[in-house]
């Protein structure tokens, strides 16, 4: 689905860019993609083997009740009317009620999503912040000892199951060393002190001046963030290394050396500028998959996040909640694609018209 959306984005943007101005074409491309996303989720909702009527009334109810609910849900209406209703509901943020919590789905998402964003953002900062310099360094030391060590360690980091790392991390840093807090977003006795403003606990606690809560949240988040970011870090560093090696064999590198620049200056002032576009692509994709699929780490650390929410609703077949989550992931990727598209233009003059 992610692939499909990207392809849709790219082709739409391509067609429209030739006709309209850049800004207009971006807006149009987003709208078209969003429409496609809504159509897709609508179709998925229709073909899922879960009967929405049975999900509400249960399989003990009689035929009369079934028919009444069937009508109330509008399922007797023509498809295009149903689709129109679906779109207007979605646009208004009316996703229905979640069975599991008994609250509107939108309220649930507002609660769980910031927890995941907070975790994934710290994870990607760690992943890119460590991975990129490591990859550049490995490239400059190609085939030497440092390169081999970095490649070996990142291969291990990339291949190790994240839930295993999570458990080992908890044993080591929580149980033995005490450097990290336990599971959840804060220690249990700090729960509920800070009312959500942005939903990001680190920010909310800092705004309200609840520093005890802030430190507890920081102690709790660093370990899952680092572990979640480890595979991104490994992936980003290996990709950075190969992007960098490709650039270091280019002629302009010789030009820069012949001007009298040192090898290090050439790397940062010239070669690095040329891998930024590729880095944006892989970091954005890595960030997207962290936001969407941190299920394992959220389970290990009892993190009340989006991945855990989506999984538990999938298990009980609550289509309201699942479709809202799918839609959110889709919108997220549209947003990240848009951001990458803008950054491409900033970083590469050849993509500006």
């Amino acid at each position: 689905m992610r692939r499909g959306l990207e392809a849709m984005m790219i082709s739409n943007a391509g067609i429209l860019r030739t006709r309209f101005g850049t800004g207009l074409s971006l807006v149009a491309s987003i709208l078209v993609t969003l429409f496609g996303l809504l159509a897709l989720t609508f179709v998925i909702g229709r073909v899922m083997p879960v009967d929405p009527v049975l999900a509400i009334i249960g399989d003990e109810a009689n035929q009369e009740t079934y028919n009444r609910v069937y009508q109330q849900l509008g399922l007797d209406q023509p498809i295009y009317v149903q689709f129109f209703r679906y779109v207007s509901d979605m646009v208004q943020g009316n996703f229905g009620v979640a069975i599991l919590t008994g609250k509107p789905v939108i309220d649930d998402i507002i609660r769980v999503f910031p927890a995941t964003v907070e975790l994934a953002t710290l994870a990607i900062i760690f992943g890119a912040g460590v991975g990129i310099p490591l990859g550049v360094y490995a490239a400059t030391k190609r085939d030497r000892l440092a390169d081999h060590i970095i490649r070996f360690l990142t291969l291990i980091g990339y291949s190790t199951p994240v839930f295993w790392l999570g458990l080992i991390g908890l044993i080591l840093f929580y149980a033995k060393l005490g450097w990290s807090g336990g599971t959840g977003r804060v220690e249990i006795y700090y729960t509920g002190i800070v009312q959500p403003i942005t939903g990001f606990l680190l920010i909310d606690s800092a705004i309200t001046g609840e520093w005890d809560v802030f430190w507890s949240a920081a102690r709790n988040i660093w370990l899952p963030a680092v572990i979640l970011g480890t595979s991104s870090m490994a992936y980003i560093s290996r990709m950075t290394r190969s992007f960098m090696l490709e650039q270091l064999s280019q002629e302009y590198v010789i030009t820069a050396r012949i001007k009298g620049l040192s090898a290090r200056q050439v790397v940062w002032r010239h070669a690095f500028l040329n891998i930024r576009v590729q880095l944006v692509t892989i970091v954005a994709l890595a960030y997207g998959s962290l936001l969407e699929g941190a299920v394992l780490i959220e389970t290990v650390f009892s993190w009340p996040g989006f991945g855990a929410y989506l999984t538990s609703n999938l298990m009980i077949g609550d289509m309201n909640a699942v479709m809202a989550c799918v839609l959110l992931v889709g919108i997220l990727f549209i947003g990240l694609n848009l951001l990458s598209d803008i950054l491409y233009r900033v970083f590469d003059p050849r993509t500006r018209s």
């Binding site: 002629e251 010789i254 012949i258 009298g260 003059p349």
Partner: protein, 284 residues
């Protein structure tokens, strides 16, 4: 020949790998004064390797040795990497073949020229920019202020090569290595670029090492010509005496050139002899 700026004796470049050693350049000796010296040879003859060995910009697997590689009284082979960075650009610079690849695609051409000056001269950016604009004008770029802010993909091949030359001239080097500087250009632009290089040698007294495979061109353009084959210099001639070459390889190359007005029969093909690759005598 004037006093040599660069004097090389028995230069050897060897690529070491775990499987084999490759002698890319063998006992090459030459002097370059304030003149145009061509190094010609076919692909793989080692001519570009000689150029890059002089500035020590070969891959780390290449081992460079020489009895002497003196430049302005310094032995280039004994300089530290830090000292070598002072020589590169400031004293010796190099023009590469195709500006499409030799300019950094994401940096404006003006910034690239300015950088070449600021590497060696600690001056404010504004002053360096003025120098760069003047230098661009001196290689016959009509609107330097406009060109300054362009990116490499926005300029033509000929202008790109003039920008490259401006970038290499700005710290005022005394030796320029031009590695096939006109091979990627069309004929009219080629002549403009050659005229600029010619002026440099005549007016500023710069030494020019002109690496090429174009015999017709070096015959008319260069003062002296070194012919390389299989990593060795097999013959050294004055440009205008190229027709009197004695070595079979040089004669073979000249014979295989098409000539306007000739009958369009088959061109002669090199009949390679093993003796051409035999080690030549070392020079003292």
């Amino acid at each position: 020949m004037t006093d040599p700026i660069l004097s090389v004796r028995n230069l050897n470049v060897t690529y070491l790998s775990s499987r084999a050693t490759l002698n890319a350049v063998r006992n090459v000796s030459f002097d370059i004064g304030r003149e145009k010296v061509a190094i010609v040879g076919e692909s793989g003859s080692g001519k570009s390797t000689v150029g890059r060995a002089v500035v020590r910009l070969l891959t780390p697997s290449a081992k460079i040795t020489a009895d002497r590689m003196d430049f302005e009284g310094k032995n280039l082979l004994s300089l530290s990497e830090r000292k070598m960075q002072d020589v590169r650009g400031r004293r010796i610079s190099m023009i590469l073949q195709d500006p499409k690849y030799s300019l950094n695609p994401v940096v404006t051409v003006g910034e690239q020229v300015t950088e070449a000056y600021r590497v060696h001269n600690k001056v404010p950016h504004k002053e360096a920019k003025e120098r760069a604009l003047a230098q661009l004008a001196s290689v016959q770029i009509r609107d330097p202020a406009h060109v300054y802010d362009l990116y490499p993909h926005e300029v033509s091949g000929g202008m790109g090569q003039r920008i490259m030359i401006a970038m290499m001239l700005i710290p005022e080097p005394s030796l320029i290595i031009a590695d096939e500087p006109t091979s990627a250009l069309d004929v009219t632009v080629k002549l403009q670029v050659l005229a600029i290089l010619d002026d440099l040698v005549r007016d500023r007294g710069i030494g020019l090492m002109f690496i090429s495979h174009d015999l017709n061109l070096v015959q008319s353009f260069c003062d002296r010509v070194l012919i390389m084959y299989a990593g060795q210099v097999v013959e050294e001639l004055r440009g205008d005496e190229l027709g009197d070459a004695k070595h079979d390889y040089t004669k073979g190359l000249l014979a295989s050139l098409p000539r306007i007005g000739d009958r369009r029969g088959r061109l002669s093909v090199l009949d390679r002899k093993d003796s051409w690759s035999m080690p030549v005598e070392k020079r003292p």
